[in-house]
Symmetry: C2
Subunit: 566 residues, 2 copies
């Protein structure tokens, strides 16, 4: 081991220690669960650290919290305290946080309470609401390491546009959340903060790259988190943790001023969106952020006001007798039984509610996914290597626990082949992407011939992934989410069910699309996925955020009516 | 000379001959002006080929034409005949056309007349309006060579989205217009169709790359032309021909289905927009195209309806007491006296009309222009060379008449240096572009501190170019237009005046920014620019098409009130 590598390891360790030291002593779990206890979802409410009022606060949806804050029933300080405590408890269970800055949260909350006391008014629609932020979101004075050792002790000089926007709406910030190094994995592990695990089963991944958010919000350590998504990084952790998570279209929410990977890739853009416990909150987040005219602060944001008529489905028959199309299977890797059951449940619920449900043809998706592979691989990770080379830490190329710490392991998964294209070759990938977007747009529009509604399919329903949360290092397929990023279709993950060994028996198959498909089928056994949540995606057309939320509410409501116990 | 090069020359010649053959014999000018006659603007009305009614039709603005068509006062066939005739006359004077397909135009016009006769109704808001199309716009069954010999006899398989859209609105197509090979020049010359010249002075350029449109519309051979603009290609020919021309923001109008250069350059996008004789027509074009929801047909078009409130300047004090900022000089090349006088006239007219006028600081524009040079040069013309190599014709690298036909002359102007970047290097240019867009957005927003209106500057007024129309081969500077493309600000060129040897005397200067600036100053003499029109640009913020048209109307009206003789 060279001195340089010793150095990065000790810097990572010191940073982690600093994080642990920032936790108030009195919030340390006295009886932490044993490593063998996989499901830790009940511990926050049973560990004895939270009062019953704190449990009530943290288990409320955002709308109730905002309403109680606006009425003065709850103070911002007590709401912030409750979530700070619960976030720290969650962190001890699933290792979901990066920066912990609850003192700043308290100070901000106290200011808001003071303002409310003086004026009787809220500062904005998110007055007093604690919001957790994925590590890459820049908050003045705090690190945004993104899991890179080289970026330790480089505090952000100012807030990013979204952070400023949320603050101006009344938000309180108190924690940032864990990510995989490079952000380009659907799981969450890096050399500084380690691995985030799934609260429903700690042997399983919490997903990624917004895996810290997924685990934290699932444990109600935050009522609303901000994640980013370039290939599923919001929807995968939302789906794998039983949450709601939205990927808006490119440039609907402001990205400026945050750190990121793949900077300068102007073909598919990472976007910021919410992970939360209700669909209403997804709308609150989107409409309130857009109400602040983020195009005044981020040159890439589209000047397009929030449109309540579109939300009320003025272009979709007012929400009556919609036609949904289900993508059962992408023709590359067939989903596991719990995922198929979630889709079947959605079909039955929507049909019962009077909507039409047809099948969505997977044609073209393989080509779309190929474009993703080419785009991710086009510069061969030169951007990430430029950062890791500064500290000497190695580039992480797998999330598998047994090999993650091997240095200089260049086992690049196939979706991430280093292509090292020229600019001209790269442009040809862009041309192909545009062509596929054109073909898909035409395909969708032409469904008007088969829906029987006079309109094209209103929304597509698809798996979030071909499986529920996988054991660590096994979640390698992000195709079901990535294709919509390449096409720039907004998509919302919503929870449907959890893996049920009785219902989700292995389904026999005799033929397979390819080796990945066979391996995935062979791998399945319900016992591996014990307690894992299962979500689905509802997918709309580009820049249809308002209508997509409206249609997803219909899906969500139909599901809740159909299976009222959930 | 090899047989291959002989071959491309004969193919080019045959195509040109085919074009000439498509002109009805009875529309050939019996007494064409001598080469020495530079100003040919009066010839269409004096040559004897047009009836007085045809003169009346072709010298009407679009609104009057549409109104007379809708009332049945003029038939579509007679309007199409008048413009077809005048287009062919114009072509004989300034060589502005590529494809001439007036028979198709007549057939379409007859159909429209028939529909009108049967129903008493128009098919749409552009019912019966002849519209000319820049060569790169694809019309089913017609070539779109873009000046490349290799693309001769490769008719388009279908209409592009914009062509379909305009057709559905009622347009009649009859001619396509000339462009420079590669489209990446602000003048117009290629090996097939030759050079387009300026109707006001045939020794001067008509601009480019939509130079055929500029010359045709200036001669009233078309009431409305569609051009494209990635660095000024609509605004330069509009400005140099005394017309109105708009560059909308990226993805506000549909581009899909046309041929283009730099395909896959996802950093700065070429956009389609109108060249015409009134500002009202700019609005008619934009609002009617957007009314057809082009996002249903082109995946890149932004889902954003036309907003009349924004046009009525709801975000700009209803149009009262606006604050305009004038960019007098970009700090790189100071404009010639006629251009400065045009800006002074605008300042005085706006001040007289009760608006505030301040100076716009050119800081940052040099960096923005550097990004343009890097983007244009990033793949070293590999895309164009791939096309020229198919036929053996050489890549045109200068518009200078004395050298344009030298083969394999690789005198690349400095703005076009072949960089042959890697994808990763190219991404860094994108990062720089985004950073400059951020800085410029912040700069503009912060002008709220100095305008005294409580708002940031409402619009910027800038030169179209540092000179009026230049002698052929001399128009090399496109910085005044290109910077807004890189920043993605919509901009409208409007006419202000013409070069006046008495008013536009050379202004003494003792110091210069650089050699280009000195050369440009030395070059000036009003006699070189005899009769040349001078326009200015009005520049708005990204996706502010509606408000920009509204504000430009204020500028235009103020100018017309201030100098009523124009």
């Amino acid at each position: 081991m060279t001195s340089q590598t010793q150095d990065w390891r000790s810097r990572a360790k010191a940073k982690k220690q600093q994080q642990l030291d920032s936790i108030p002593k009195e919030w340390i779990l006295r009886n932490p669960p044993s490593k063998d206890q996989l499901n830790v979802t009940d511990i926050p409410r049973t560990c004895g650290l939270l009062s019953s009022r704190e449990i009530e606060i943290t288990e409320s949806h955002v709308e109730a919290i905002l309403s109680n804050l606006a009425k003065g029933i709850w103070s911002a300080v007590e709401v912030t305290t409750a979530f700070s405590k619960r976030a720290v408890i969650a962190h001890q269970l699933v290792n979901c946080l990066t920066e912990i800055f609850i003192e700043r949260g308290f100070a901000r909350a106290a200011e808001l309470d003071d303002y409310f006391k003086r004026t009787g008014k809220v500062v904005g629609p998110l007055h007093g609401l604690p919001i957790s932020l994925k590590d890459q979101l820049c908050v003045k004075g705090l690190d945004a390491t993104m899991g890179y050792v080289a970026w330790i002790d480089k505090p952000s000089e100012k807030n990013s546009v979204l952070v400023d926007t949320l603050e101006s709406l009344g938000a309180v910030f108190y924690v940032k959340t864990n990510i995989p190094q490079t952000l380009m994995f659907p799981e969450t592990y890096n050399h500084i903060f380690g691995r985030t695990v799934n609260p429903a089963n700690r042997a399983l991944t919490s997903g990624g790259s917004s895996g810290g958010e997924g685990a934290l919000v699932a444990l109600r350590g935050s009522p609303l988190g901000v994640g980013s998504d370039i290939g599923g990084s919001i929807r995968i952790p939302a789906g794998l943790n039983g949450l709601y998570g939205m990927r808006p279209s490119y440039h609907r929410t402001p990205y400026a001023g945050n750190v990121n990977s793949l900077e300068g890739l102007n073909s598919v853009y990472s976007v910021l969106g919410p992970l939360t416990t209700s669909l209403e909150t997804v709308k609150t987040f989107m409409s309130s952020v857009i109400s602040k005219e983020p195009w005044q602060y981020d040159p890439l944001v589209i000047r397009k006001k929030w449109n309540e008529d579109e939300y009320r489905l003025c272009d979709h028959n007012g929400g009556k007798q919609l036609c949904f199309a289900i993508l059962w299977d992408d023709g590359m890797v067939r989903p596991h039984p719990p995922v198929l059951r979630a889709l079947e449940t959605a079909r039955d619920a929507l049909t019962r509610a009077g909507h039409k449900v047809i099948d969505w043809d997977p044609a073209g998706l393989a080509e779309v996914n190929n474009v993703a592979s080419k785009l991710w691989g086009s510069v061969g990770k030169q951007d990430s290597l430029a950062v890791t080379s500064l500290s000497g830490e190695h580039l992480i190329t797998t999330m598998r626990p047994e090999v993650e710490d091997l240095e200089n392991l260049f086992e690049l998964p196939s979706r991430y082949k280093a292509l090292n294209l020229t600019a001209f070759e790269f442009w040809q990938v862009n041309v192909l992407q545009r062509q596929l977007r054109q073909e898909y747009l035409d395909r969708w529009r032409e469904t008007a011939n088969v829906t029987g509604t006079g309109r094209p399919v209103d929304a597509i329903i698809a798996p979030v992934a071909p499986y529920a949360a996988m054991p660590h290092g096994q979640h390698r397929n992000a195709v079901y989410t990535t294709v919509w990023n390449i096409l720039d279709y907004p998509a919302i993950a919503i929870p449907v069910t959890t893996v049920d060994p009785i219902l989700d028996v292995k389904r026999e198959r005799s033929s397979f699309y390819n080796e990945d498909d066979r391996t995935n089928w062979e791998y399945y056994g319900p016992e591996k996925f014990k307690d894992a949540p299962v979500g689905i995606q509802v997918v709309g057309r580009t820049l249809q955020e308002e209508a997509l939320i409206g249609m997803t509410e219909i899906v969500d409501r139909s599901l809740k009516t159909y299976q009222p116990k959930l």
